[in-house]
Symmetry: C2
Subunit: 597 residues, 2 copies
């Protein structure tokens, strides 16, 4: 394994390896999509860590995992089929390799998980080193900040590597970042720093002896006691692309038994000129760097721009996903009314609650998988006060290549029980606008969920309203299919054809909460099949079952939804296949159901 060979490499060999790895990264992401800029910026840091530490005895914990591709390459994983079914995951996963010490995918976890591992190690009397590798954007997340500042004393032999590329996913809005970056921008500091770097060159005699001294002076000059207050010895800033310097400093740190924060300054997108110039464009990229057209995200962006013109009280809130949720144009047109708070989902939601309380109409746009990071804020700050906040849960349902950590299968089950919350799922981009208008008219908390990727327009028979919460798309006297969400509705229409059952009735359940009592009462006693792309437990089917039970109506109900498991990376279509939620699966179920007496 390359990780073992590295130990014997000299600096020049390591530099050559860095070059080679960069080439692999670019090729892999071009082929399969993924996160490019962050990985390009972390090449030398990862190499230096592998040169100095002994993984997997020592533990390396990534945060989010956008910087883990080199680590994957070094530990026997090829990126040829990165993020594809059967290929390497785009994120660290202990099930994939023993070198992946902890799961990653969501933000801000690495320091807390690292401290937990250290606590376990110390109680068990073990001696390995634990390294949490975190980007500057992740550090602003509440979980990371809690971990930095909560515990009275940090464990020994614990190293936080702060990979500071000065970028969040979009750009760094963070006041925290200002604090961190102080060191690298103060001109007086810079001059002395440069003097020290020259005087104590790592290659010089003094450099070798006095490296630690140099970083002590740097740290002192820096006066950045932000991290010292968290109980860490602060070391840095170091040039995160200088292998010789990095290896030297890491060797010193390895011999300290204190908790250390190593501040490494890197360039996001390093080595690919286009990515260096515009790192956020290359942050997360689809195959061949293509963009999705005719997606809900694009439709939402257009919709909010139009609505913002009509209604000056409309504001948009997001958490470092301005581009991802389709708000790039909105940000251009209404910069004062776009609140991108960085990777702070909790703050985004409670701040939105404050804005709603103050008379604005906030639309909070967050991916489904990240919305659960603000669960309590949705309940306690928005719904308890019954405030008019609309949540747009993008990437709901199977999420495709991002896999396990990013699936949008849970939010319906998670949030259906929250009092005052309304939940909608439009069947296509055109209906998104209707649902949005309806949600706005309710003046109460609303969640609108929709998937990523291409979504065909299916045509509307009846706009959503209080009297037509649901819409019958295809009529019939036989089995009633209650389908919810764009993919489920499209598949239901196809399944009717595949099944050959002309009497199947297809209903578009675009409102999951409340249910459409008119329709449910009309079809009571019939064979009913619910169909959704979300966990079966607690979802639409469950809601329908509750409805009939509540009224003492014995229901003949079949529930189709995702099994309770974490679906690995593959295309969203493949994931639906493995969950048996495709049109053909529904068609088979319809035939079997029809055959029952």
């Amino acid at each position: 394994m390359l990780a073992d060979e590295l130990k014997t490499y000299d600096i020049q060999q390591l530099e050559e390896t860095a070059e080679r790895l960069r080439g692999k990264l670019i090729a892999a992401v071009k082929e399969n999509g993924g996160h490019l800029s962050s990985n390009l910026g972390a090449v030398e840091l990862i190499l230096a860590l592998y040169k100095v530490f002994d993984f997997p005895q020592d533990k390396l914990i990534f945060d989010v995992g956008h910087q883990s591709y080199v680590h994957k390459l070094l530990t026997g994983r090829e990126l040829d089929s990165l993020r594809q079914e059967g290929g390497a995951s785009g994120f660290p996963d202990p099930q994939e390799s023993e070198y992946d010490s902890f799961i990653a995918g969501h933000c801000g976890t690495s320091v807390a998980a690292g401290i937990g591992l250290c606590n376990a190690r110390d109680l068990k009397g073990e001696t390995f080193k634990v390294i949490s590798f975190i980007g500057d954007a992740s550090l602003g997340n509440g979980l990371a900040l809690e971990a930095m500042f909560s515990a009275e004393e940090k464990p020994k032999n614990f190293i936080v590597v702060l990979n500071d590329n000065g970028m969040s996913i979009d750009k760094n809005h963070s006041a925290l970042y200002r604090a961190i970056s102080k060191a690298t921008t103060k001109s007086k500091y810079r001059r002395v720093n440069s003097f020290l770097d020259k005087t104590f060159k790592p290659t010089s005699f003094f450099g070798k002896k006095l490296r630690r001294f140099k970083y002590s002076i740097k740290g002192w000059l820096n006066r950045n006691d932000f991290f010292e207050r968290g109980g860490f010895k602060y070391v840095g800033p170091v040039n995160g692309h200088d292998l010789r310097e990095l290896i030297g400093v890491l060797k010193d740190i390895k011999n300290l038994d204190k908790p250390v924060l190593l501040h490494a300054v890197t360039i996001k997108g390093k080595g690919l000129e286009a990515a260096e110039q515009d790192p956020s464009r290359f942050h997360g990229v689809g195959k061949n760097f293509a963009e999705n057209e005719n997606s809900f995200s694009v439709a939402l962006g257009r919709l909010l721009c139009a609505k913002a013109q009509e209604d000056p009280s409309l504001v948009a809130v997001t958490a470092a996903m301005t581009d991802g949720v389709g708000l790039a144009d909105f940000a251009q047109k209404y910069p004062q009314r776009l609140f991108d708070v960085g990777i702070c989902e909790e703050y985004a939601v409670t701040m939105a609650a404050g804005m709603a309380k103050g008379g604005l109409f906030p639309v909070v746009c967050i991916y489904s998988t990240f919305l659960q990071r603000a669960y309590d804020e949705i309940v306690h700050d928005v719904c308890l006060q019954n405030l008019p906040v609309v949540f747009c849960a993008d990437r709901a349902g199977f999420v495709g290549a991002d896999g396990k950590t990013h699936q949008g299968l849970l939010e319906l089950s998670a949030l259906r029980g929250v009092p005052n919350l309304h939940i909608f799922a439009p069947k296509d981009c055109a209906e998104l606008a209707d649902v949005f208008d309806f949600a706005k008219s309710i003046k109460a908390p609303c969640l609108i969920r929709y998937p990523n990727g291409y979504a065909p327009n299916l045509g509307t028979r009846q706009k959503i309203s209080e009297y037509f919460l649901w819409e019958t798309l295809s009529d019939g006297d036989g089995i009633v299919v209650l389908a919810s969400g764009a993919r489920a509705v499209a598949r239901a229409l196809e399944a009717k054809k595949l099944s050959g059952l002309a009497d199947v009735k297809i209903v578009n359940c675009r409102s999951i909460k409340p249910l459409d009592a008119r329709v449910l009462d009309a079809v009571a006693g019939k064979k009913i099949l619910t169909f959704e792309e979300g966990y079966k437990t607690g979802g639409l089917g469950s809601a329908v079952a509750e409805y009939y039970a509540d009224r003492g109506i014995p229901a003949r109900l079949k529930i189709m939804g995702a099994q309770e498991k974490y679906f690995a990376h593959a295309s969203a279509q493949q994931q639906a296949e493995s969950a048996r939620l495709c049109a053909k699966d529904l068609a088979l179920n319809l035939q079997a159901f029809a055959a029952q007496e």
Copy 2:
């Protein structure tokens, strides 16, 4: 209203008012229970705010709300029936008074909500002041830290009052606190500070003119740029019990249009000697300062002490609720194995995941209402990795006097869909031990939910095991009652008697996930009534409905659970009555169900 009169009071009258208010606080909490120490410490701060600002035009936002009683007294609310049905809530609530600008109850919300209100104000061109009032313990919460450090620029005319009493609910473990308190402990600083205070006495000529200058020097000496980095002008520290000083400083701040953080140092429990000596004992107190005996919390504490002796890998984790969840003795006996991380629920859970990954067996003890603050960490860090972490959700079900913000009705609905998670609800304290052993044996994520207050022992017929997930407590051929949780099971047994229906079968559903398929299959086709103290939506009833639907069995099911609403403060029994979840309600339902053909 007293709030208006205050404007005309001089310092002496205000000081007398402070005395009077303290008397009222102590009497009210003695009578009704509630939060004493925090409120005693905040008297002068609140009075000074009311003297200087114009509420409710200006907005005062509390954090958690443990310090809001004086504010309630000033704004027309009596505390005679505090936290009782129909009396004042123990927390701020906009539905109770227009002076309550935002909900409070959970921690860390005030800064985010305040910024949201400011954003709304500024976009609408309004001019009032917004004041977020936060304790030092709350500031360490991730949501608060996100709000402090996230936004690029803080709004103008925004004041954060940091009420620094140097205490968390238990004690302050926080590294953050070390940072804040630096100013007040450095001896050199203290000397200069005292010189400044003497030289520029607020009553002296220079004092009046140069007050702002004094606090600038203090701030500079302090060199506590922790808050300046968050974009605030730091003012302080000031003596939070000196009305003259407070009013002077607040007047100055009112005229600044910058975002300001005012650091006020106070004594928790001020004015009640016993509370000053032992503020954590007087933090939250029941009526007449009594303690609950024979409660699940006490039972859990004993259980964990015993288990810890058997199993050196057992560690306990909590978030500033060591006493509340029953871990006081554990903390004494096993200080190295008790991790109380302060009010950082997210960190608690992810850190526990790290410890589990490192080979320990963490038991995370958090109130049901606060567990949802770590929703994503439960899903992403614990359950996705299928780690052996046991969550003990104390105060599940109706919570009583704490009311709306603290109800434990949601966690079952919220978490039932999470893959890999097992969910249990023992019927009594004796069964807690059995369930705990069973949960431990599974070596997977488990949640054990139980209510607060007195719980009678009901006697066990069959210990929980893989083959006896559920237990039949009273047999019969008629209606099957599936009851889950201590209160529901006790009421079900009583209801059978009340109903006069000797053939009712009572089943103790101590495992909600997984369900007991053996029992469900055996009773399929019978009349089934599910009964639980939690939201009806997505709870046990919903799970049973799903089970039968999945197998194509038309169920004759009736679901009894709490309606989807936020239940206000009252006794837990009164709350159950208002939700129609008492024994008599069940008895009536049984009779009606029995009468159906």
